[in-house]
């Protein structure tokens, strides 16, 4: 133990010594945290996710074709794709005339208008995409491009709610819950999307039933 630690821990212990009638740690069921909307939802997880994700300006997609159309319409022509998604996503984009790179060059992060990486799951209740260090090929590829596409391939990773997603955080050293595009309301309370992170946040499910 360092000297500083001794001092801090000593001060904390001393502050609490003699404290009586301490509050016990309350326990509670996960359901206690569910919103009314989630409790009453009769939709399947992915549909519930899609609605909630859309409510926070996210875009949920079921077909690579929808992504192609969106990127072409928006003029987002050049980007990066995780090599693991080459066959299912990258090549479809290339076939449609978009420029796709499978290597992410740190020297030119601003050249990628879109970044396509894998999602580690979604949360239905909150409309959240889950990213973690193991599934994300490069943190910057999921962050720097204006359009980020998180691709969900594992249908089992649709978590119903926040407590369930917490239980499944796993051992990754870096888990990020993404609930919509980057945003700020710092100036006069006016909402602007796309501050440091993506201005467009997409979640594409492939291999699903729809």
């Amino acid at each position: 133990m360092s000297e500083a630690q001794d001092i801090v821990m000593g001060a904390v212990k001393q502050a609490l010594s003699g404290l009586r009638g301490k509050t016990s740690l309350p326990d509670y069921e996960s359901e206690f945290l569910f919103s009314v909307r989630h409790k009453e939802s009769e939709q399947d997880g992915w549909t519930e996710f899609g609605e909630n994700f859309s409510a926070v300006s996210g875009k949920a997609m079921n077909e690579v074709g929808d992504l192609v159309e969106f990127l072409k319409e928006g003029g987002f022509e050049k980007g990066y794709c995780d090599p693991e998604l080459k066959e299912q996503v990258g090549e479809v984009l290339v076939a449609a005339g978009l420029q796709v790179s499978y290597a992410f060059d740190h020297q030119r992060v601003d050249d990628y208008v879109f970044g396509i990486t894998r999602a580690s799951g979604v949360i239905a209740e909150s409309g959240t995409v889950i990213l973690n260090d193991e599934d994300t090929v490069d943190r910057l590829a999921a962050l720097a491009p204006w359009v980020h596409v998180a691709v969900l391939t594992d249908q089992k990773k649709v978590f119903a709610n926040i407590p369930q997603a917490i239980e499944n955080l796993g051992n990754s050293s870096n888990v990020i819950w993404v609930t919509g595009p980057s945003k700020t309301a710092d100036i006069e309370g006016i909402l602007i999307e796309g501050v440091h992170g993506p201005g467009v946040q997409i979640c594409l499910r492939i291999g699903g039933e729809n």
């Binding site: 821990m9 301490k22 309301a185 440091h196």
Partner: protein, 473 residues
């Protein structure tokens, strides 16, 4: 301090109307948004607030155990853990870590605790560039200003002022469109991220169970700060620890809704150590500094409940006094109701310097009603008033209470005073004996004095025997 005017009252009086109106309308919108969101999502949001309050109170009362647990878990995850007793200790430790790694350029994510220890100036003096990356904090930094709200640091500024600052910094011609300003900041700060050697953050919560740090931002600045360089330093108040991962779910559900009417803040990061082996971007080292800086002293006091605070800013938004003053009226890092409690406590021996703040409240209780961890702020304000009274700290404009107590425990004297004071009706305002009363009457009228009238009526009514006059004097 002037003898006759309270500093915060004078501050509010002198605050430009435009600033006051900007603050007022912004926080009213936020208050309404928070309420609508919580009430739409929960049948009884108060149950959730009370539960969260208990969890945090329990943690504080067992903080030694949970800190030890958190430390062990963090070390197991590969992080390096430090402790800092004072602001100075913390600043020196940050500098030492940076020096060891030859880090000269730091990008910083929004953190109240780094404001508290005045880290930026210190690093700057020691040759380290430290750039604020939250848009609001960035503007505060280039203006040499201080934040006036926990969540919305530039609540006191308008777009024209921001546009001017950007122009002066050389970020393009004058343009006050918030979207243009944001894009310019994106471009400017992206360069700073990519050139940085280290990222600094605070933490919203630390789970003792797993050692996970939770950091939330809407802009994505904490993500970028932890993707573009190899060194992460998190400066964390010791009160940020919570027992279990499941408690993170409880608190996150309340934090976003209370702060910004969001179910979740856009980016919720769970940091469990340095980057994983397969990951090419992000910190290879993670340092966590647990900061005391007066917190253990607060923990010892009966006002320890204030350490439950999760910095959502809801109490500022709802506070009628904050609405008239902005955060700057509170003369310290933390403004609003939470600041009025925390500032005098954190000041330690300088308690008297901030002893006026707990008095600057009508004790309306709106703060407690919105607090996501149900802190009994009015009660804490009263405790601090009592402490100031015990320590004999004089307060401008406060009427003495000993004569009142004498009067209110002497029924005959009381009744005489009530009747005699009827003379007040016949005095012109300027002859009112007490100066504060004159101030009062400048903008308000008082009703007609009717001292003694009710009692007389009561006596004269039928059924006079009901009067119970037997007991006293």
């Amino acid at each position: 301090m002037s003898k006759s005017v309270q500093p915060i009252d004078a501050f509010a009086r002198d605050l430009p109307r435009e600033t006051r109106d900007a603050v007022l309308s912004s926080v009213m919108t936020r208050t309404a948004g928070r309420k609508a969101k919580l009430e739409a999502d929960y049948e009884n949001p108060d149950d959730l607030r009370r539960l969260a309050g208990k969890v945090k109170q329990h943690t504080l009362e067992h903080l030694d155990e949970y800190l030890e647990q958190a430390e062990a878990a963090l070390i197991k995850n590969g992080a390096t853990v430090h402790f800092a007793s004072t602001a100075e200790d913390a600043r020196e430790q940050v500098l030492a870590i940076l020096k060891e790694n030859g880090a000269k350029r730091v990008v910083k994510s929004k953190s109240m605790v780094t404001e508290e220890i005045h880290l930026n100036d210190f690093l700057q003096k020691n040759g380290v560039e430290c750039v604020e990356t939250d848009l609001g904090e960035f503007i505060i930094q280039i203006d040499g200003d201080t934040p006036s709200h926990i969540v919305q640091p530039i609540i006191h500024k308008n777009r024209r002022q921001v546009a001017q600052s950007f122009e002066e910094l050389g970020l393009g011609d004058y343009n006050d469109d918030p979207q243009t300003i944001t894009r310019r900041a994106r471009k400017h700060l992206r360069e700073k991220y990519l050139q940085s050697d280290a990222g600094m953050t605070g933490a919203n919560f630390v789970s003792a169970e797993s050692g996970r740090l939770v950091i939330v931002t809407n802009e994505g600045n904490a993500r970028f700060g932890m993707a573009a360089n190899g060194l992460h330093i998190a400066l964390v108040g010791i009160e940020k620890v919570v027992p279990r991962d499941k408690d993170l779910g409880l608190l996150l559900n309340l934090l976003g809704r209370s702060a910004t009417a969001q179910q979740l803040t856009v980016y919720t990061q769970f940091i469990n150590g340095p980057r994983s082996k397969s990951q090419p971007s992000g910190p290879e080292q993670m340092h966590v500094i647990f900061l005391d800086n007066g917190r253990s002293r607060v923990l010892k006091s009966k006002e320890r409940d204030i350490l439950r605070c999760i910095r959502c800013g809801a109490c500022l938004n709802v506070c009628p006094v904050y609405r008239q003053t902005s955060g700057h009226g509170y003369r310290a890092v933390y403004g609003g109701p939470v600041g009025a409690v925390l500032s005098p406590l954190l000041a330690g021996d300088d308690f008297s310097k901030y002893a006026d703040l707990p008095k600057a409240s009508s004790l309306c209780g709106a703060c407690n009603e919105v607090c996501p961890v149900n802190i009994p702020i009015p009660e804490l304000l009263l405790r601090l008033r009592s402490r100031a009274n015990q320590e004999g700290i004089k307060s401008a404009g406060s009427p003495p209470m000993a004569p009142f107590a004498k009067l209110a425990t002497s029924p005959k004297l009381w009744q005489t005073a009530m009747t005699a004071s009827k003379a007040m009706n016949h005095l012109p305002i300027t002859m009112m004996p007490v100066r504060p009363l004159q101030e009062w009457l400048k903008i308000r009228t008082l009703p007609k004095w009717s001292g003694g009238e009710f009692r007389r009526w009561m006596r004269e009514r039928e059924g006079e025997p009901r009067m119970d006059t037997n007991k006293h004097e």
